[in-house]
């Protein structure tokens, strides 16, 4: 059975609606002669010093397992090193995670090659040097879903811009809406989250122009300075996940909105002499269990709850970590067990015929965030 992204859309609609209400409220007050205003608010709240923050994930991929630990002190996060961290499964295997010298203090990686197995249940254990013991709720790792199709549709989105004078204004931005279909062979409800990334390939020509007035035949020809550049953008600021409804299990999701690719190159921070060559979408997706899905749902609600001036019920993030030695001590964060895959698609477009296609290409996730080749076409172009 297919599920349409209607609920997701309604979430967005609500977000926009409340945002509009905000603007209207301000306008109305202005019009009615009142003087509504807002200012940053710094309330006095209880200290959260020494609370630990867990950002942990185990997957069925050996290079995607990390437990990040931090602690909170004076309104600042600090890496938590020297803890004993291990993951156990439901058949009594123990996998040790260590804070090695990766240059990322507080990041704990498997001491040996480790990849989770679908169907297994994993539990995170943490022992800090001051003797506090933390433990997660058991998390089941579900088999990976698969992408059935990626497609696009011409569309227009509104965007709030901020001018250099500091003034905000709205503008409609044309572009392509990227949609994806996913399915699972499992009987369970399909729950997933996606981390889409746009890989933008563009050319910058810095070849010096010849000065015709001072042309000299003896001069060496000007060497071309063509830069073949790329840079990556994370496409969703919000948590991108499917929202399921109650009812029968949904084993597939169609037309899930992945992201929006505007046409204007200036929105990608490109300069006037830079030309977009290709747009490539890298889709990293995770198949979630119900606990993880709930956590990311609340993350999503929290992210879209901006501008809610009518003081809505806030979205508190659930945690599945407990302090065993001191149960009253709060813990923030989440331990996730998910299957994950990554697929890369290149956009092919013939605007004259309104043709939009996404063709699968080789994996480019490993590319650095940005880079450039001088006068040499990179292998992945």
């Amino acid at each position: 059975m297919e599920i349409y992204p209607k609920i997701l859309l309604s979430y967005k609609a609500r977000s926009i609606k409340i945002g509009r209400l905000f603007y209207w409220f301000i306008y109305l007050i202005t019009v009615s002669g009142l003087s509504a205003c807002k200012e940053v608010y710094y309330p006095e709240v209880d200290s959260m010093d020494n609370v630990i923050i867990v950002d942990g994930i185990v997957t069925d991929q050996s290079d995607r397992n990390v437990i990040k630990l931090k602690y909170y002190q004076d309104h600042t996060e600090y890496p938590l090193s020297d803890a004993t961290v291990y993951v156990t499964d439901d058949v009594d295997n123990v996998f040790l995670f260590v804070d090695n010298d990766s240059g990322k203090p507080g990041h704990y990686f498997p001491s040996e090659t480790f990849a989770g197995l679908p169907g297994r249940i994993y539990t995170l254990h943490i022992e800090t040097i001051d003797g506090e013991i933390y433990e997660s709720e058991p998390q089941k790792l579900l088999p990976a879903a698969k992408i059935e199709d990626v497609h696009g549709q011409y569309s227009v989105r509104e965007h709030i811009f901020k001018s250099y004078t500091g003034r905000h204004y709205r503008q409609e931005v044309p572009g392509i809406e990227v949609l994806v279909d996913l399915s699972t062979e499992e009987d369970d409800i399909l729950r997933f989250r996606i981390e889409p990334t746009l890989l933008l390939l563009y050319i910058r020509d810095e070849t010096e122009e010849e000065d015709e007035d001072e042309f000299d035949e003896d001069d060496e020809p000007i060497e071309a300075q063509i830069f073949y550049c790329w840079k990556k953008f994370r496409l969703n600021d919000e948590a991108n996940l499917n929202i399921h409804t109650f009812g029968e299990g949904f084993s597939s999701v169609n037309d899930h909105v992945l992201s929006f690719l505007p046409f204007s190159k200036f929105l990608y921070n490109l300069e006037r002499d830079e030309v977009i060559e290709k747009k490539i979408v890298i889709i990293r997706y995770y198949t979630l269990n119900s606990n993880s899905h709930r956590f990311y749902s609340e993350v999503y609600k929290q992210v879209v709850s901006e501008n809610k001036i009518f003081a809505p019920v806030v979205s508190q993030l659930p945690t599945n970590i407990r302090n065993i030695s001191n149960p009253k001590q709060p813990v923030a964060g989440f331990f996730e067990a998910s299957s994950t895959r990554s697929e890369t698609y290149v956009l092919f477009e013939i605007p004259e015929y309104s043709i939009i296609m996404f063709n699968r290409t080789w994996d480019l996730e490993h590319l650095p965030v940005s880079g450039e080749y001088l006068n040499e076409i990179p292998y992945f172009w």
């Binding site: 509009r20 209880d46 950002d55 227009v156 009518f310």
Partner: protein
């Protein structure tokens, strides 16, 4: 005592009295005291009540020995040469100006009214004269008015609904009708047989200098059985400080003890810790589901249409039900129109016009009113690009037709419509509307019985249309509405002079369309979707009796029984928890056919009010009320918004039940010119609706999974003191209260704060209101209102942390913190209407200064994303903001007129 001694004593007395009359303190060899002490002693010594205007005796003191003279002699000494006279009616004494009394009598001589059929003349010696006593200006009934025949010494007082029955001998009689604050009326009546005669009394505004008008009996707060009742008539409503642009009767209610709002503005109000959806706002017996224009800037009630509004905070009479927290009963005017009248006002935000006119004298009268904003006109002229093709505005229309086909029968038709519309750059449009209609028929049957029948319709509808809010793919329209149909009948019976028995049957039908989502155009990917419509039926019977047990005790006992049916067609879902206990799963779905009962609830709702008179000017009262509520306002925000939903109780959402207890002490001072009271209340609430973290109410097909049934209680003590007469009037109130709530779920998914009690959104422990008005002259008046309250509870971020690439917020427990305290001072200056008697037109200006000292009271706290730069996909940052509506003194001006 020798003759010489007697003559000396008389001369001495005369001289002393002369000094009294000249307004100077008399030195009589003893202590001098003010008038109120003399009157107080006279009342106690002679077991009577004496009404007078204290200002006639301002600056005058009397020798205290006067109080021990025989009553008539003492009164004679007091009134002296002040051109006052004394009227004796039953056990009451009223001091009034001589010329006033004489004028009335002369006028009465010119008119002889025949009552009864000539064919009955001679058949009876004594017959019943009955009718009603009404305010001639507003048509309001005047309970407690005295109807008295001086020649026979017979009389009676009007009942609580203004009706009276007095047994008099046939023949020509002089009947006097009086009521405190109103001109006495004398009527020559040729009584031939049993018949009806209504009396219309008029206030004394233009007749007597500096008489303070009281639209209700001065001691009503002491003598009436009910407590926790707030009444405001049109005069008081007019005299309170203005809101931006206009008077706002709902807003003014929140200045009274036990009634709160959530901020500077905002829709609705909260009574004694209850939610906004727990208040029944009745306009001519039909409920109003959204009481605000423009997101709460102004209430939807046109103040010109209001005759009187009464708020029952507790001790709710048995004839009212439907909601658990309070009843606000708004009565439109008029019942009786004698002359054409046009009332209007021009304000900052809107203007209004109201017309009332007789269509057929004494038979049919009509009133029509309307208001309209001009904010759209202003927006069109704003030099702001964002406002191009934008609009924002509202209007409301009111009409009432009253017909009296027979003297004992009244039929009234009432209609009301309000509409709000906002459009942003032609892309986004919001609108919502209220539609109310009612028809009422009242008939007096015999001497002691009256019958009422009414039918009502109410509809609230809101619609949102987004043309590409994010992208064209997501253009949609969303519609939601609630329909209310009622048929109510009642019987009012006066078996004797002591009992007032009321009974009735109510039938209410609810229909709710929670949401219909539609794509706006072919490009939209929004799938058409509708949440199942809900319908329910609420039936109720009630019976109440108000009577005096003895001179000290009076009571009102009532019982209401309600039966509620949740009807199909409907799929009823049952939910369980998954293996993690973190998520609901659907266990079963059962379909119910059209009109099949899917869920049923009911119960008895006892009501009790008891008054014990301690002295003539003090009493002790208590009340108990149980209420059931079957329709709930679903709002996941602290502030009520136009897009909140109404939802019926069903299989998963049980009806809200409240038990309200209150006890109060009431005492008046200085001839009732100062009223004081202390009320203590406790409210126990069951099945209150709370919301899961991040609850979503918009187009949620399984909204019950985001709602949690909770328990709650609220308590408080309300101190109130008011001065109702004299140049300086006003009130002071202080409320110390608490409102707590807790969930009782057995899993984290249906728990909040681990099932611990936490403050509800409406918990404001301290609230102070000081209102004072001073009449500088007959036309100029200055008033000020100061309001302080503890900040409302709020859930705040305690920690911001990064998870992945995101910045996330760790929130505190629900409502753990509070916003800063709210306080504000408003002042108002009014230039009153002309005092000429035969004026064709009158008007008054009102100038207000809101927030005199520029306090920045937080309205709400919210997150906002800072766009940062003009680029897409750059990391955004979030900040916590507080929004305040008034951050500086705001002047407003209104002009009101009457033709």
């Amino acid at each position: 005592m020798s003759l010489r001694q007697k003559i000396c004593l008389k001369i001495f007395l005369l001289l002393s009295l002369q000094m009294l009359y000249s307004g100077e303190a008399a030195i009589f060899g003893g202590t001098t005291v003010p008038i109120d002490e003399i009157i107080s002693v006279l009342e106690n010594e002679n077991d009577t009540r004496i009404f007078y205007n204290a200002e006639w005796f301002e600056g005058v003191t009397f020798d205290q020995s006067i109080a021990y003279l025989p009553l008539e002699q003492a009164l004679s000494s007091i009134i002296g040469e002040k051109l006052l006279t004394v009227l004796y009616v039953d056990a009451y004494i009223t001091i009034i100006p001589v010329e006033f009394s004489q004028n009335r009598y002369t006028q009465a001589d010119t008119l002889l009214i025949t009552v009864g059929s000539p064919s009955e003349f001679g058949r009876y010696n004594n017959v019943d004269l009955r009718g009603r006593v009404l305010d001639g200006s507003t048509g309001e009934t005047l309970p407690g008015a005295i109807i008295y025949s001086e020649s026979t010494g017979r009389g009676t007082t009007a009942n609580t609904d203004g009706s009276y029955t007095v047994n008099l001998p046939v023949g020509e009689l002089l009947v006097r009708v009086s009521f405190v604050g109103y001109e006495d009326q004398y009527r020559r009546v040729n009584l031939l047989g049993q018949g009806d005669l209504d009396f219309y009394l008029f206030e004394e505004t233009h007749r007597i200098d500096e008489v303070t008008i009281m639209a209700r009996r001065a001691e009503a707060n002491i003598s009436r059985t009910r407590m926790s009742v707030i009444s405001m008539d049109s005069r008081l409503l007019r005299e309170l400080p203005g809101n931006p642009g206009d008077q706002d009767i709902v807003r003014n209610m929140t200045l009274l003890p036990g009634v709160q709002n959530v901020g500077e503005f905002g829709e609705g109000f909260h009574v004694r810790g209850g939610g906004g959806g727990q208040n029944l706002i009745l306009v001519e017996d039909v409920p109003l589901f959204n009481s605000s224009h423009l997101f709460g800037l102004i209430s939807v009630i046109n103040p010109d249409m209001v005759s009187e509004m009464t708020l029952y905070k507790g001790g709710i009479p048995a004839k009212y039900g439907e909601r658990v927290s309070s009843v606000l009963d708004i009565r439109a005017k008029p019942d009786n129109v004698e002359d054409f009248k046009l009332i209007g006002g021009i304000g900052l935000l809107n203007s209004r016009l109201y017309l009332e006119t007789p269509v057929i004298d004494d038979k049919i009268s009509l009133s029509v009113g309307g208001r309209s904003s001009y904010s759209s006109w202003i927006i069109d002229r704003l030099p702001m690009e964002e406002m191009l093709s934008s609009s924002a505005g509202f209007y409301d229309l009111t009409s009432r037709l009253v017909m009296k086909p027979r003297p004992n029968s009244t039929i009234s038709l009432f209609g009301y419509y309000s509409y709000d519309d906002f459009s942003s750059a032609g892309v986004t449009n919001y609108n919502y509307s209220n539609t109310l209609t009612s028809i009422k028929w009242n008939r007096i049957i015999g001497e002691k019985l009256s019958f009422g029948l009414s039918g009502g319709l109410s509809n609230y509808d809101y619609n949102i249309r987004e043309r590409g809010p994010v992208s064209q793919m997501e253009s949609y329209s969303l519609n939601s509405s609630i329909d209310y149909h009622s048929l109510k009948s009642s019987l009012l019976w006066f078996p004797d002079g002591n009992h007032r028995v009321e009974s009735g049957i109510n039938l209410i039908g609810y229909g709710i369309t929670p949401g219909i989502l539609m794509p706006l155009d072919s490009l939209s990917l929004i799938q058409e979707s509708a949440i199942e419509r809900e319908q329910g039926l609420e039936m109720s019977l009630f019976l109440s009796d108000e009577f005096e047990i003895n001179e000290k005790f009076s009571t009102e006992i009532g019982l209401r029984y309600t039966r509620y049916l949740y009807l199909g067609p409907k799929n009823i879902n049952s939910y369980g928890l998954d293996e993690t206990g973190d998520n609901y799963i659907l266990e079963e779905s059962t379909f119910f056919d059209e009109n099949e009962v899917a869920a049923a609830y009911g119960g008895l709702e006892p009501r009790l009010s008891l008054r014990y008179s301690l002295t003539g000017n003090s009493s002790l009262k208590l009340s108990y009320t149980r209420n059931n509520q079957y329709v709930n306002l679903i709002s996941n925000t602290t502030v009520i918004t136009p897009s909140d939903l109404w939802k019926l109780s069903d299989h998963n959402l049980r009806p809200v039940i409240s038990d309200n207890y209150a006890v109060g002490y009431f005492r008046n001072f200085m001839e009732n010119s100062i009223e004081t009271s202390v009320e203590v209340y406790f409210k126990d609430l069951r099945n209150v609706i709370e919301y899961r973290e991040g609850a979503d109410i918009l187009m949620n097909h399984n909204i019950e999974t985001d709602l949690i049934n909770a328990r709650g209680y609220s308590y408080g003590i309300e101190f109130y003191a008011s001065k109702n007469s004299g140049r300086l009037t006003g009130w002071f109130s202080y409320t110390l209260s608490g409102s707590r709530i807790r969930t009782v779920g057995d899993s984290p998914v249906n728990q909040i704060n681990e099932n611990r009690f936490f403050p509800s959104n409406y918990d404001k422990p301290h609230e102070i209101v000081l209102n004072a008005a001073y009449n500088i002259s007959r036309r100029w008046r200055v008033s000020a209102t100061f309001n302080y309250s503890t900040g409302r509870p709020v859930t705040l971020p305690e920690m911001v942390f990064s998870h992945g690439d995101r910045q996330l917020v760790y929130y505190s427990d629900r409502n753990k913190y509070r916003l800063p305290a709210f306080h504000r001072l408003d002042i108002n200056i009014t230039r009153g209407e002309t005092l000429r008697l035969n004026k064709r037109r009158s008007g008054y200006w009102g100038v207000s200064l809101l927030n005199v000292y520029g306090r920045k009271n937080p309205y709400s706290v919210f997150y906002e994303r800072d766009p940062g730069t003009s680029r897409l996909y750059e990391r955004d940052s979030y900040n916590l903001y507080k929004l305040f509506i008034l951050d500086r003194p705001i002047p407003t001006v209104t002009y009101n007129f009457i033709f």
